[in-house]
């Protein structure tokens, strides 16, 4: 990989390379501090720092920062309340953490020369798998084996069951894959696209202004996508939670 990184220093995929900043192992597991880890830490520090700063005064009439924090809080709280109901407010911290983490990673990735944590399938898949495990655990904890009824939709004639049940089962099991691939592919595709068109700016010489303008416009779009993908990941998590909490399919 090291040779590949050297060769592809200007390629569109170079921005996704993992560089080990400090190599060490924990219990035989490679836990090196990479550029990915660095941006995770920066993102978390930013989120916590922002919320700490915003809630510093805790005034009744909010300051600007505080109202932004409250806006984010209400945004996610409403999302959970609308999609899951008040019973789902128990899982609000989890949903908020997911949203803020993904949003911070997506937005950090928009800074030039930075690293987009969410453009790595393993990270998004781990997040999606976490959601899947949490949702399934909640489902079985709340409904016991009755949670399996999720795969047997009501009002379907019994002779269709052999067809419907596997479809439901597959669509349930494919959730973490679709959830993770959506986020990963969106972030990766957007960043690659930007890089490819930025390369055209140089190679086209005098006509380079056209891809430059496109790149600028597309950067704006990428900010929208960065927010939208964090939002969609969270909304889908809420919908899955709703299945587990309320079970009306």
């Amino acid at each position: 990989m090291a040779t590949g990184a050297a060769e592809g220093a200007h390629g569109p995929m170079h921005q996704f390379e993992i560089n080990r900043l400090a190599e060490f192992e924990i219990f035989g597991i490679d836990a090196s501090f990479t550029n990915s880890s660095l941006f995770m830490v920066i993102g978390v520090a930013l989120i916590v720092g922002f919320l700490a700063l915003a809630t510093n005064g805790r005034s009744l009439v909010p300051t600007r920062l505080q109202s932004v924090a409250e806006l984010a809080y209400e945004f996610i709280a409403n999302m959970v309340r609308e999609n899951v109901g008040t019973a789902g407010m128990k899982y609000f911290p989890f949903v908020f953490t997911l949203f803020s983490f993904i949003l911070a990673m997506n937005m950090l990735g928009m800074i030039p020369y930075s690293f987009t944590v969410t453009s790595h399938i393993i990270v998004t898949f781990a997040l999606a798998a976490l959601v899947f495990v949490v949702v399934t655990a909640i489902g079985f904890a709340r409904h016991g084996l009755g949670y399996l009824k999720l795969f047997v939709p009501e009002g379907v004639p019994f002779w269709l069951m052999p067809l419907i049940v596997p479809i439901e089962l597959i669509s349930y099991l494919i959730r973490p894959i679709s959830l993770s691939v959506r986020l990963f592919a969106n972030m990766m595709a957007g960043h690659t696209m930007l890089k490819v068109f930025a390369g055209f700016v140089v190679s086209l010489g005098i006509f380079g202004f056209a891809p430059l303008l496109f790149t600028i416009a597309f950067t704006g779009l990428e900010f929208v996508v960065a927010f939208l993908q964090a939002f969609i990941f969270t909304v889908l998590t809420c919908i899955y939670l709703n299945d587990a909490v309320n079970m009306h399919h």
Partner: protein, 74 residues
């Protein structure tokens, strides 16, 4: 046939999945707009559903893209 060429052709074919995703996303947003213009007061309430539909339609296309990437780099 040269295996590399076959790989590229396969990856290109896999990207056809994006046609369907494009049509689907166009359908979703088009229908949302026409519905929203008929009944603008109901439109904001369906915005979340619009984004979910968009995400689901896009995901199917992205699966195809993923296959293309795996063929190319896997």
């Amino acid at each position: 046939m040269d295996p590399t060429a076959a790989k590229f052709i396969g990856a290109g074919l896999a990207c056809f999945a994006l046609i369907g995703a494009g049509i689907g996303i166009g359908n979703i947003f088009g229908n949302y707009l026409s519905g929203a213009l008929r009944n603008p007061s109901a439109a904001p309430g369906q915005f979340t559903n619009l984004l979910i539909g968009f995400a689901l339609a896009e995901a199917t296309g992205l699966f195809g893209l993923l296959i293309a990437l795996i063929i190319l780099f896997g």
